[in-house]
């Protein structure tokens, strides 16, 4: 009986030891470029005008790996459509920048929302969005 008691105690001990804290994970970092010449916030843009938006992405933890960059576009709240995809490799997996040029459409009052998404190898995503209204 002592052996059996020892068995059960040892098993419970091992289970407890093998349990651990939860790791929520840190989202990869993404932000709009704010330098001169970049649009970095919601704005009204003249129809047919050209603008430039840029984003900076960076891993949030030492062992993180950036995996994919995506830009999607949604018009007047409709479903978003992917307009640009890039698989990241090499140095881009640590830090990545991208500039995106847009020619504003010609329908006055139309609201176009651009979503910039960075995904890391764990499937954690972070996004920034910007809505451009045609005037």
């Amino acid at each position: 009986m002592k052996k059996i008691f020892f068995f059960v105690t040892l098993f419970i001990a091992v289970i407890l030891i093998s349990s651990c804290e939860k790791d929520a994970g840190k989202l990869p970092l993404i932000s709009f470029k704010t330098a001169t010449g970049y649009t970095a916030a919601d704005a009204s843009i003249t129809k047919g005008a050209s603008i430039k938006m840029g984003v900076d992405c960076e891993k949030a933890e030492k062992y993180d790996v950036l995996k994919k960059f995506n830009i999607s576009k949604s018009v007047n709240g409709a479903a978003a459509v992917s307009v640009y995809d890039q698989d990241l490799s090499g140095a881009d997996q640590d830090k990545f920048s991208y500039d995106y040029s847009i020619t504003q459409d010609t329908v006055v009052g139309r609201k176009t929302t651009y979503t910039y998404t960075i995904t890391n190898r764990d499937g954690l995503v972070n996004q920034v969005t910007c809505t451009l209204t045609t005037k």
Binding site: F7, C20, G25, K68, F69, Q93, T119, G123
Partner: protein, 702 residues
């Protein structure tokens, strides 16, 4: 360096233990010599009797007296053939193949079904190693096992959900004979992986009142090379395992307590791994930084048997399993970390009504909890509970005829818990809970009109409640980088199948034919959609009806215990109702072999063998599935068995894929990455075993 130290310490420990055993034998050998041959004969006879009894059936009985289609795989004899894992070893049997992710990661496939469609039993209880994902291997070695019983066809009546395609029952080694201590040490070495395994075990039986067993196993392999002699970087793996068992008998009660613990690490390969993994020395075993899967498994079980009287027997098995899976896939740190905790019991009451009728009542219950500890999550935290009740009736109108029928009712409760990034407010699938009820039945007949003929036929349904991944996946699948979306509204997967078996045993000839035909309702599969998730392809779980049919054929010839030859074939077809093939279906396979044994008095028994495996190209595959080409492998080997009064020596040398064929099997997940299977491998296995008196005073009293 750290790893080498562990390995050297392990080997040193084992050699000290082995030395101690040898010294101990020396001290008692004089007393033993006269009686040892008789004891060995008794043990052999006992093992022979046990071998004929099938444990996986509803009650323990001879294979000919159950309507189930059952085959037995002997572990010790197949372990001589240069296998790397338990799955490798089982795949030598017709109808069993393996879904592999390299040499170390493999899960068994029975008639095209694997994962949660195939039930693995250990000590009479379900073994769950988070088998819902293709790249999660079985993670068990042959350590301490004596045989595997393969039940082809559903067994949901007894075991509920998941016993859909069949059962692989892993049977532990027998206890030592009364007042004996059996000790063995096995060393395996492989030229291809520059690695191998060591296994040490000892069993002792005190007067038949109580007995115990201890076993230790270490695996260690570097990367393998394919048939072009190209190294498959990061295919390395290692593992450490131990088992301890204690059993006792008190009048009508027999009880066995088993503990098994293991830690395995498998180098992992996926589609973009070679863009960042740097080649290290050829024999490197380093797994501390490169992508790897780490699995910590602790299993505790208690098997009880009460022989109440000549008409009533009661069995009660219960156990707890803890399975922690950690995955590091390219970010240099553990990202997926899931802990699956399972507690379960199976109660079985056998009642013999009279000489012709028996009744068996069973109740199975299982409780599970899945918790994510890592940053990467694909399935949510969850709680599950399953219960199953069954009634089984056996009717023996004549000695040569057995009818068996059973029905069962069960239900499975699944509750997914709020898990950030899987089912939170931003996600499509929200936390859910629900009960999935199910019914199953079995009916069959076994007929032995003569000594040499056995015919079986059974019809049965199998049941599988959708697993957590199918119901609630909502995330990026690591490695293959597709977004997987579950569906909480999936229905139970149901099968109804006919399984037959004809066995002919005439003089030196043995023929076995085992056909099957199965229809599935609501077969679940992962299908591509035309949507994307932030640039990643999106797949969703769907279901539709399906059909599988095929069978196995074996013919063997044995002459004077000297010559043995066999030819076996396995083939099947599997399609969904829309006419598509289901994914990962084994191709038709022929295996043939010849073996010659020589036994001359006082000299070691010598066996030489050769075999050829030929796999045809598959007839078709799932949408966009890459298909394997046909291939042929030639294997050969020799072994010596030499029994001395002190030590038994069992030495074997085997060469697999001797022609260094460049190929991939249709069930290799590496086929998507253009990575080939293992090339030529020469394996040397040395097994030493000792049989000694365990308690001198008790022998003296006798």
């Amino acid at each position: 360096m750290k790893k080498s130290r562990y390995l050297i310490s392990g080997l040193l420990f084992l050699s000290i233990v082995a030395k101690a055993q040898t010294d101990s034998i020396g001290r008692v050998i004089d007393r033993q010599e006269k009686s040892i041959q008789n004891i060995l004969k008794d043990e052999h006879r006992m093992q022979h009797q046990i071998k004929d009894v099938i444990i996986s059936a509803y009650q323990e009985e001879s294979a000919k007296h159950t309507a189930l289609s059952i085959e037995t795989i002997s572990i010790d004899s197949l372990a001589r053939t240069g296998t790397f894992t338990l799955t490798d070893l089982m795949a030598k049997t017709a109808g069993i193949t393996k879904l592999s992710t390299g040499v170390g990661i493999a899960k068994p496939v029975l008639r095209g079904l694997y994962g949660n469609r195939l039930l693995i039993l250990m000590n009479g209880l379900k073994f769950d190693n988070q088998q819902w994902q293709d790249e999660h291997g079985l993670g068990l070695s042959e350590m301490g096992l004596s045989k595997v019983e393969v039940v082809k066809g559903p067994m949901s009546v007894l075991y509920g959900s998941e016993a859909l395609g069949g059962v692989l029952n892993l049977i532990e080694e027998n206890k030592a004979p009364i007042n004996r201590r059996l000790t063995d040490f096995t060393d395996k070495m492989n030229t291809n992986t520059f690695g191998g395994s060591v296994d040490y075990g000892t069993r002792i039986n005190h007067r038949g009142k109580n007995w115990s067993r201890f076993r230790l196993h270490i695996d260690n392999h570097a990367d393998y090379s394919d048939g072009r002699n190209s190294r498959v970087l990061n295919s390395r793996f290692d593992g450490y395992a131990l088992k301890y068992s204690y059993g006792f008998q008190k009048e009508k009660w027999t009880s066995e307590w088993h503990w098994a613990s293991s830690f395995n690490r498998f180098g992992f390969i996926f589609n973009d791994i070679y863009s960042f993994v740097v080649e290290d020395p050829r024999q490197s075993r380093r797994l501390s930084y490169n992508p790897a899967h780490l699995v910590i498994l602790n299993m505790f079980s208690n098997v009880n048997h009460w022989k109440i009287n000549s008409k009533n027997q009661f069995n009660f098995n219960w156990g707890v399993q803890s399975n922690e899976r950690m995955e590091r896939e390219g970010s240099g740190a553990i990202s997926l970390n899931m802990h699956l905790l399972t507690a379960q019991y199976l109660a079985k009451w056998e009642h013999r009504l009279n000489l012709k009728h028996s009744l068996i009542l069973t109740h199975y219950n299982q409780m599970q909890s899945n918790v994510n500890y890592g940053a990467r999550k694909i399935i949510p935290d969850a709680r599950m509970q399953e219960a199953n009740f069954s009634l089984y009736w056996e009717y023996n109108p004549k000695e040569e005829l057995v009818f068996e029928s059973g029905i069962s009712y069960g239900e499975k409760y699944i509750q997914s818990l709020l898990t950030v990034a899987v089912n939170d407010a931003k996600k499509e699938i929200k936390p859910f809970k629900g009960v999935h009820p199910f019914y199953s039945f079995f009916s069959g007949v076994s007929y032995n009109p003569t000594e040499w003929l056995n015919m079986k036929l059974n019809i049965a349904n199998g049941i599988r409640v959708p697993n957590l991944a199918e119901l609630s996946s909502n995330g990026l699948h690591e490695g293959i980088f597709i977004y997987e979306l579950g569906n909480p509204n999936l229905k139970n997967e149901n099968s109804i199948g006919l399984n037959g078996s004809i066995g002919v045993d005439v003089k030196q000839w043995n023929v076995q034919i085992t056909p099957f035909y199965t229809l599935y309702k609501n077969y679940i599969y992962l299908a591509p959609t035309n949507q994307t998730w932030y640039g990643f392809k999106r797949y969703a779980y769907e279901q539709q009806d399906a059909m599988q049919m095929g069978g196995e054929f074996l013919i063997s010839y044995k002459q004077d215990n000297q010559w043995e030859a066999h030819l076996q074939y396995a083939g099947m077809q599997s399609k969904t109702a829309d006419g598509n093939y289901t994914p990962f279906i084994p191709a038709q396979k022929f295996s043939s072999g010849v073996q010659y044994s020589v036994k001359i008095a006082y000299l070691p028994a010598f066996v030489i063998s050769t075999s050829v495996d030929h796999c045809l190209a598959p007839q078709g595959g799932y949408v966009n599935e890459i298909l394997a080409k046909q291939y042929t492998l030639w294997n050969a080997g020799m072994s010596f068995v030499w029994n001395t009064p002190r030590v038994n020596y069992d030495i074997s040398l085997n060469g697999n894929n001797l022609l260094n064929t460049v190929y991939f099997d249709n069930l290799s997940r590496f086929k998507d990455y253009g990575i080939y299977e293992i090339g030529r491998n020469i394996a040397l296995r040395v097994k030493l075993s000792w049989n000694q008196v365990s308690e001198k005073k008790h022998v003296d009293k006798k």
